[in-house]
C-alpha cells in the first residue's frame, strides 16, 4: 500500500486529492494536511467583498467530504519536509503542527511515499510596510479578508450618503505583486455598486498597478479580435476603466502604506504618494516558508525551494534575457527537481521567470508583475499530478502519462464587472497559451482565434454558473469528475 500526502486543500490540492483517491481507491492511502478546515472558491471572494455573497456561499467544511471519500484529513500546517527521512525514521516524512481541536499545537511526523505540495501562496503583507487588513488596507484574497473589505466599503458608502467624497484606491500593493485580474474585478464591482447607489459623483476611484501598461495582468497582455481589429488588452482595460470613471496610475511599485496614504515609486524613478479613504491592494506572494532537511538534519531548503519559498520543479531556471525566454522553460509535470516523489502543482511551484517583461526603475527597483497562476492551471496541474502519481503507483513505472505546461495550455478568466442577473456584467477573457509562444505565433504570441475579450451580461452568467459548477465538483456531488478544472 502506498501513501500519498497532499499539503493544502485549495483549488490545486483538493483537485489532486480527489483524483488520487478516485483512481487509487481503497488499496492506497491519501492524506490531506491543511490548516484551514474549509475549502473556499477563491474567485467568488470578489462578491463577498461587495456584499453580494455571504462567506458561507463561497466555502464549505472539508472534513465531511473527506470522510465520505475516505481521505484522512489533518487540520495542520506543514512545517518541514525530510525527503530522505532522518536518523530515527527511515522513510521520507513531513513534520506538521496541528492548528485546531484537541491536538492544537501538537507536532507530528507523517511518513509518505509521494508528496504533493499544493500550499499555494503566502499572502506576503509584511513585504510592504503598513499593508494589509490588520494595518491600513483591505484585501479580498481570502473569504475573511473579503468580508472585512465589505465592512469597510459599507463605511465609505455611509459617508458618501452623508455627502462626503470618498477616494477608493484599488490595485497592487507591492512592486512585484501579481493577481491584477482579481483587483481589476474588485475595482469594477466597487464602481458598479457605487453607480447603483447613484453615488458616483462622490467617489473617486483610482487603479494603481505595477503593470507597464494596463491589461498586462502579469501575462504580458494579450491581443483580442474586436470590431474588425486585433487589439491589445491595454485598450480593452483602459476602455472599461474610462467608461466607469476609474483613473489609473501604472508602472507603480507601492512600498509603504500609512493611514490614508500610499507611497510608491515609479519606473521613472520618482517617489510619489496618493491619498485614499478605502484601499484594496493585493500583497506580494511568496511560498509558505516550509523548510527541508536531509537524513543528517542538514538544512536543504535551498535544494527544494527557490529564494521566494516556491518549490523548484522541472522548469528551466537558467537565468536568461527576456528575448531568450521560451515556453520550454515552463514545467510540464511539476516534479521536484531534487526528489522524484515530490510534486508541486498550483501556485506552489517556482516559475522559471515572469511572463511580463522585467523592468527596473532608474533607482534599480524591480517594478513588474510576477506571473499569475489562475484557477484553471491550478486545477489542471493538480489533476495531472494526481493522474501521474496514481499511474506510477499502479504500474510501477516512473513515467508521466500526463503533462500540463502553461506554455501549451490556455486559460479562461471571467472578470466580474457587476453582480446582477439582468443588468450585471462580466468580461470573458480567454488566452491560449497562457505563456506567449513567439515561435508558434510570431505576430501576437498567442492564437488570436482562441483569445477572447468580451464584456456583457453573459460574462456574469458564466462566472455565476462556474461558481456553482466548481462548488458542485469540489463537494463531490454526482458526476463531479466529469466536470473540467
Amino acid at each position: 500500500m502506498a501513501r500519498v500526502i497532499v499539503l493544502g486543500a485549495g483549488i490545486s490540492g483538493h483537485t489532486a486529492a480527489s483524483f488520487l483517491k478516485k483512481i487509487l481507491g481503497k488499496k492506497h492511502e491519501v492524506i490531506v494536511i491543511s490548516p484551514n478546515s474549509y475549502y473556499q472558491w477563491v474567485p467568488s471572494n470578489i462578491w463577498v467583498g461587495v456584499g453580494k455573497m455571504s462567506i458561507d456561499q463561497v466555502r464549505f467544511k472539508l472534513d465531511k467530504i473527506y470522510k465520505k471519500w475516505k481521505i484522512d484529513y489533518k487540520q495542520a500546517k506543514a512545517i518541514s519536509i525530510n525527503p530522505e527521512g532522518n536518523q530515527d525514521i527511515s522513510k521520507p516524512f513531513v513534520s506538521i503542527q496541528y492548528v485546531a481541536g484537541e491536538k492544537a499545537g501538537t507536532l507530528e511526523n507523517v511518513e509518505y511515499d509521494y508528496l504533493v505540495n499544493a500550499t499555494g501562496p503566502k499572502l506576503n503583507f509584511e513585504a510592504t510596510e503598513g499593508l494589509g487588513p490588520d494595518k491600513n488596507t483591505v484585501s479580498v484574497c481570502s473569504y475573511d479578508h473579503a468580508s472585512h473589505a465589505y465592512t469597510e466599503f459599507k463605511k465609505s458608502v455611509e459617508l458618501m450618503k452623508q455627502g462626503k467624497k470618498q477616494k477608493f484606491l484599488i490595485g497592487t500593493g507591492h512592486a512585484m505583486a501579481t493577481c491584477q485580474g482579481a483587483a481589476f474585478e474588485y475595482a469594477l464591482n466597487i464602481a458598479y455598486e457605487i453607480k447603483k447607489l447613484k453615488l458616483s459623483h462622490l467617489a473617486e476611484i483610482t487603479w494603481i498597478s505595477n503593470e507597464y501598461e494596463l491589461g498586462d495582468f502579469g501575462m504580458s497582455g494579450a491581443f483580442v479580435k474586436r470590431g474588425g481589429y486585433v487589439m491589445s488588452t491595454k485598450i480593452f482595460t483602459e476602455s472599461i476603466f474610462a467608461e466607469n470613471n476609474v483613473n489609473w496610475i501604472k508602472r507603480a511599485g507601492v512600498y509603504k502604506v500609512e493611514p490614508n496614504k500610499v507611497y510608491y515609486e515609479t519606473l521613472a524613478g520618482e517617489y510619489k504618494t496618493v491619498d485614499f479613504d478605502f484601499a484594496m491592494l493585493i500583497p506580494g506572494f511568496a511560498g509558505q516558508g516550509i523548510k527541508a532537511y536531509d537524513k543528517t538534519n542538514q538544512d536543504i531548503t535551498s535544494k527544494l525551494f527557490a529564494a521566494n519559498g516556491f518549490m523548484l520543479v522541472d522548469a528551466d531556471y537558467t537565468p536568461k534575457d527576456f528575448e531568450d525566454w521560451s515556453i520550454d522553460d515552463w514545467p510540464e509535470n511539476y516534479q521536484s527537481s531534487a526528489y522524484n516523489n515530490i510534486f508541486a502543482p498550483g501556485i506552489a511551484f517556482a516559475p522559471p521567470h515572469s511572463i511580463s517583461k522585467p523592468t527596473k526603475s532608474t533607482n534599480g527597483t524591480a517594478i513588474f508583475p510576477a506571473p499569475p497562476r489562475t484557477g484553471m492551471p491550478s486545477g489542471v496541474t493538480g489533476k495531472i499530478v494526481a493522474q501521474n502519481i496514481a499511474h506510477i503507483i499502479k504500474s510501477g513505472k516512473h513515467e508521466f502519462k500526463h503533462t500540463a505546461s502553461m506554455g501549451r495550455m490556455g486559460a479562461a478568466c471571467i472578470i466580474s464587472a457587476g453582480y446582477s442577473m439582468t443588468r450585471g456584467l462580466g468580461a470573458t477573457m480567454t488566452v491560449s497559451p497562457i505563456v506567449p509562444d513567439w515561435e508558434k505565433y510570431p505576430q501576437w504570441g498567442r492564437d488570436v482565434n482562441a483569445t477572447v475579450g468580451e464584456i456583457g451580461l453573459a460574462g456574469h452568467w458564466i462566472k455565476l454558473f462556474l461558481h456553482y459548477m466548481f462548488i458542485h465538483k469540489a463537494k463531490g456531488y454526482p458526476f463531479w469528475w466529469l466536470l473540467p478544472e
Binding site: 483602459e238 467608461e243 495531472i384 495550455m409 490556455g410 479562461a412 456583457g456
Partner: protein, 65 residues
C-alpha cells in the same frame, strides 16, 4: 423650457470648464448607447453565453492532455 442662446451663454460661462483632453482617461474607446444596449440584451447575451461557453470548453479540452 426653452433656453435662449443668450441665457445658454451666461450659464455656460458660469460653469467651471473641465478640460478632459490630454488626460489618460480621455483617449480609450467608450461604448456607444447601442453597445451598452447589446451588452445586457437578454436574447443576444444568451446567444453569447452559449458561444463563449463553447470557446471556453475548447480551451479547457485542449488544456487537458
Amino acid at each position: 423650457m426653452r433656453v435662449s442662446h443668450l441665457s445658454f451663454n451666461i450659464i455656460y460661462k458660469q460653469m467651471k470648464t473641465v478640460v478632459r483632453n490630454y488626460k489618460d482617461e480621455y483617449y480609450p474607446p467608450i461604448p456607444t448607447k447601442s453597445t451598452k444596449f447589446w451588452r445586457v440584451s437578454f436574447i443576444y447575451q444568451f446567444y453569447k453565453f452559449l458561444k463563449l461557453n463553447f470557446k471556453i470548453m475548447r480551451i479547457v479540452v485542449k488544456g487537458h492532455s
